[in-house]
Each structure stands twice: as C-alpha cells, then as structure tokens.
Amino acid sequence: MKPAPTLSSAFLQPSGNALPGPLLSLREQRGTALVDMPLPTRKTENWKYSSKHLKLSDKLATNLPAGSATTSAAEDGYRVVFRNGVIDPQASRLPQVDGLTVQRFADLSDDEASALAGRLDNTLDTNATQMARLNTARFEDGLLITLKPDAVLSEPLFVIHEVTATASGSAFPRIYVDAGRHSQLTLVEEYVSSGDQPVMVDTVTEFMVADGAQITSIRLTAEDQNVQHIGATGVRQQRSSRFESHCVGFGGPLRRHDLQLRLEGEGAECKLNGVVVTQDKQHYDNHTCIDHVAANCNSEETYRNIAAAESHAVFNGRIHIHQDAQKSNADMNNKNLLLSTGAEIDTKPELEIYADDVKCAHGATIGQLDETSLFYLVSRGISRREANVLLTMAFINELVTQIPVEQVRDSANERLNRFFDDTFEEA
C-alpha cells in the first residue's frame, strides 16, 4: 500500500517575523505539530470529493510577499485591506467608535498577544479543519476586532482580502472577533485576486459571541481561476446571542469553506444562508456544522448550489444536537440546480440527535430548470436566454435579497450576470 501523502516540509519553513513573541511561539509550536501531517485523500470522509482538487505543490509553500495596491470593492465606509495575508494600514479606514478596537496582530502588546494566542483556534474543531491548522502555523498578520459590552458598529466593516498572484505562493489571512455582551457588528469579507500564477488562500475567521450580541457575517468568495481557496469560520455563541451568516461563493479550481457553530448558551440563534455558483470545471465544497450544545436554541440554514457545465458543487450539512440541548429547533434546507448534464452536485445532511425533545427538519433536493416553466415564459415572447436567467435567479433570489448590505448584493448580482452571460447563449 502506498503511504498516505503528508504535508511537504517546505510548508513548515518559518514565515515572516513581524508578529509579537507569543504569537510567534504559538505558530512555531503548531508548525512542529504539523510535521508528517497526513493530507486529505479520497478516503478522508470530509475531503472525499475535494482532495483531488487540493494541489499543495512546493511552489505554494512560500508566503506571498505583501502585494501592491489594486482596486478595492469598498471605496467608502470602514474597511481593512489584507494584501496577500498582510494588513495594509494605508489602504484601511478604521471606525472610531466607543468600545470598538480594531488591531493588527503585529501591533499587539505581548500581553494582548499572549491572551490571543491562548484563544486562537478555540472556536474550531481542528480535526475537521486540517487546513486551518496550517493557517495557525503560517499566518503572518491578522485582524483582532474587540467589541466591549454594548458597543455597536452601525455600519458594516469591510475586510477585503486581496491576493496578488504575480508569483506562486500562499496567503494566510486571519481574523479574530471578540464580541462582548450585547455588542453588534456586521463584518463583510470579500475575497478577490489579481495575477495569474497558481496561489492558495488559506484563511481562518473566528467569532466569540457573548450574551445577547448580534453578529452578521457576510462572505463573498470571488477569486480568479488560479486561486485555491480554503477557508474556515468558527463561531461560539453564548446566551441569547444571534449570528447571521450570508455566504456567496463563485467557483474555482478549489473552493472550500467550513463553517462551524457552537450554540453554547440558552436561547442562542443562528441563521446561515449560502449561495454557490459554479461553471466550467470548477469545484466548490461547503461543509457546515452546527452544534446545539445548550437548550432552547434555534438554527436555520438555507443553502443553494447552482452548477453549470462540468462543474461540481458539494454541500455537507451537519447538525449535532447534544444531550442537554432540549427544545432545540433546527431547520436545514439545501436545494440544488444542475444547469447541464455534465455538472455534478453532492449533498449530504448529517443529523446526530441525542436529546429527545427537539424539532429538527431537513430537506435536500437536486433538480434542473423546469421545462414547463421555461415553455410558459418563452410562450410570452421572452427569449430562451432571458427565461433561463429568470428561472435561475428565482432559485436564489430570496437569498440574495436577504444580504443586508447593498454593496455586496450589487457585487453578487454583477458576478451572477457574468455567470449568466457565460452559461446561457444569446438567441
């Protein structure tokens, strides 16, 4: 038998040293633990469909040098720009709001850094997010957002993750949000790229959500076709907190997002919306996991995949209701639309329920555009292309319109239109 492939030692060379001591030692310690880390293969359950798309050639082992400025999607408003995993303070515009601090990891005092080092990865089940462990061994910078109790940021904070792929390499952006009691924040993450060399973005975002806090996370993944994107988002929610997630993703050679939530305080609730669109030979894999740990929590999850041409989309939604999580209410729904016979979609709900008094509903469907509806539309003189667009848009419109930031909706719609142009021929 062939030995299982392991992470190349090239990936464990030290990266930049601009971080405070405690974070450097954390990184080194995590790096050591990765020696001989087995890489996911076809037999690794959570990477079953995606391992073949993960191409960790040694060329990707170096961290990309901090890149030069390109356009950013958010010209007005608050923003932080990561270039190749390193924050560019010049391009950033930070809010000045009582109770809110936004800091670069590189700027933290030793005390702050050591407190943070003790908390990084605590929101994640790192057994299920192998590549997040690599991030913790390699990140060069990061963003720490701290909200004191009752602090409210009324406008969204944009984080633009740009990679400049003029050479091969990787970027390891990192965000940690510590949201105090009854604080409120909307965080938008946009992933974009320029340049055409093969690169990898391995990114981790964590949210600690205290009692009564309300967090909205919006994530738009739209890098170019030379970018492998592997992301993990971890969330821990305390009593009566609310977390809302809106993910919109466009395909690539590899797109992977793990979204893990733990509802740890009574009355916590989360709402997770996701839209994925793939074309050509693209691949997109969403793995979500909601742990109902405490009683009386609600989770509502709605994901839609649209796969065209020879692309492949994967949805794996796990709901784990722990023994003490009585009166849990969990609702998971995944609908999938195949736009060609060569496209593939795999969907798998996974429910583990250990409490007896719970409501848990789940549904998954895979279908094509409805011929009868298409005929009805074209019988009114509407072109076939337009009819296809109307019906495809109908499939996701509800989720797109729910994105609470207009700029992101516009940008998602613009990319959707490009997808329609590529996918549906003019008459």
Binding site: F375, Y376, V378, S379, R380, R384, L390, L391, M393, A394
Partner: protein, 255 residues
C-alpha cells in the same frame, strides 16, 4: 390568418392529433368543443410551440408564414398567444417582472423602446383593474398560490398586455364563478378586433353566450368531426356528444 392542414402530432410515440384541418380568418372567433382527452389542449400547445409534442405531418401557416418552423418565442412575437388550461406557477419570479419582460420582448421585436419600471407599473395597474385583479397580485410570484379563477384572470391580463394577433384560450372559462366569467368574457371581447382572431376551447355553451363565436367545431379522437355555427353549441349542450357517433366512454367523460 391561421391555416391548419392535415396536422398530425404525437406525444411519447402516441398519436394524439390525427389530421386537423382548420381555417381561421382575421376578425373571427372560433370555438372548439369536444370530449376530455380528445386533443384540444394538444392542438393549442402544438400551435404555441411546445416541444413535448412532435408534429409528424401537415402544415400550419400564420399569415402565410410557416408557423412550425418558428421557435416558441418567435411565434409569440409574431402574435400567437396561448392562455394555458393550467397556468404555470413560478415562485421567485414576480408577476410584475414576468409581465414587463414579456411586454418589453415584444416591444423590442417591434422596434419600439422598452418600457421602464414606472411606465410599466402604470399600464399593469390599469390592465389588472380591467380583469378585476388586485394590483397586489403583481408583486406575487407568477401564479404562485393564485386560485384557479385568479390564474385565468392573470392569463387574460397577459393577453390584454401583449395584444396578440391570434389568441388561443384553452378552457379559460373553467373554474370561474359567474362574476369572474363576466370579467373574463369582457376581457376577451375587448380583444376582439378586425385584425385579430380568437380560438377558444371550452366545454360550456354558457361562455358562448358572453363571447359569441362565428364558428363552433367538435374535436374528437384527434379530428374535427363536425363544424357549424353557434347553434351547434346549443345542440351539443342538449344532446351531448353521443349523437355524433363518438364512443360512449368518451362521451361520458365529456360531461
């Protein structure tokens, strides 16, 4: 205007239309009656261009042009309109967006400028009043959760907006209460014009009191077996289909 010669069509290998001949001139109203399953909807769908049905023989021309060569959307732009027996529900596409897209597709085809959202809204509100449909229906998904009668009124609303040359109404009267029948009939009568023709499929003579046809045809077993004036409909109402030599079971199914 419309000329159908020896039209044969089948679905899934089964022949449904077995040689239809029909001439419709501009300004005329034709009614087609006939037992359930005789092919009335099939004829309507074939004329509109539903590819689920295969035309195996015969020809159809619209103002001299070969209709069967045209795509569904081209037929619509040339003036064919089908009010569906079972209008399709399309959640996620608003009725307003649907109607505006259709109207603008027609306008573009005629070389007219598209209507903007505000202009169209005004027009749509007027026409929805004409069919007694609350403008709130414009905001809902296409036919989504509409009652049977509301769907039929929505079909007539589309006909009024699109101003077709040939309106084919497939049982637009079925499932309507007495008031709605009046509203729909008024809508259809508003469509009547010298340069327009109407082909309506119905089971009930009572519609023909409101919309008086020039000709009545009986379609049975995939063929038109009898044609006449409006008095034929009255006779059918009284005597059923049996006297025309249609099989007993087909006749029973018609009532």
């Amino acid at each position: 205007m419309l000329s159908i010669k020896n039209l044969h069509a089948s679905v899934e290998g089964k022949e449904i239309l077995k040689g239809i001949n029909l001439e419709i001139k501009a300004g005329e109203v034709h009614a087609i009656m006939g037992p359930n399953g005789s092919g009335k909807s099939t004829l309507s769908q074939v004329l509109a261009g539903n590819e689920a049905f295969e035309v195996t023989e015969g020809e159809v021309t619209l103002n001299g042009e070969n209709l069967l060569d045209l795509e569904t959307e081209e037929r619509a732009r040339e003036g064919i309109f089908l009010a569906f027996q079972y209008p399709v529900e399309i959640p996620g596409v608003s009725n307003l967006q649907f109607l505006r897209t259709a109207v603008n597709a027609m306008r573009t085809h005629r070389g007219e400028p598209e209507m903007n959202a505000a202009e169209f809204m005004k027009l749509a509100k007027e026409v929805s009043k004409q069919v007694d449909l609350d403008p709130a229906f414009l905001k809902r998904g296409v036919n989504e959760g509409f009652s049977g009668g509301e769907k039929k009124r929505n079909e007539i609303m589309q006909a009024l907006l699109l101003q077709p040359k040939l309106a084919i109404l497939d049982e637009t009267d079925s499932g309507l209460d007495i008031d709605a029948l009046k509203v729909v009939s008024d809508g259809v009568n508003a469509l009547r014009a010298k340069d327009r023709a109407i082909l309506m499929v119905t089971h009930y003579q009572r519609l023909l009191n409101h919309i008086v046809p020039d000709y009545v045809h009986v379609l049975a077993g995939g063929r038109i077996i009898k044609s006449g004036g409006r008095e034929l409909a009255l006779e059918l109402e009284e005597r059923g289909y049996g006297w025309l030599g249609i099989k007993e079971d087909e006749a029973a199914a018609a009532n």
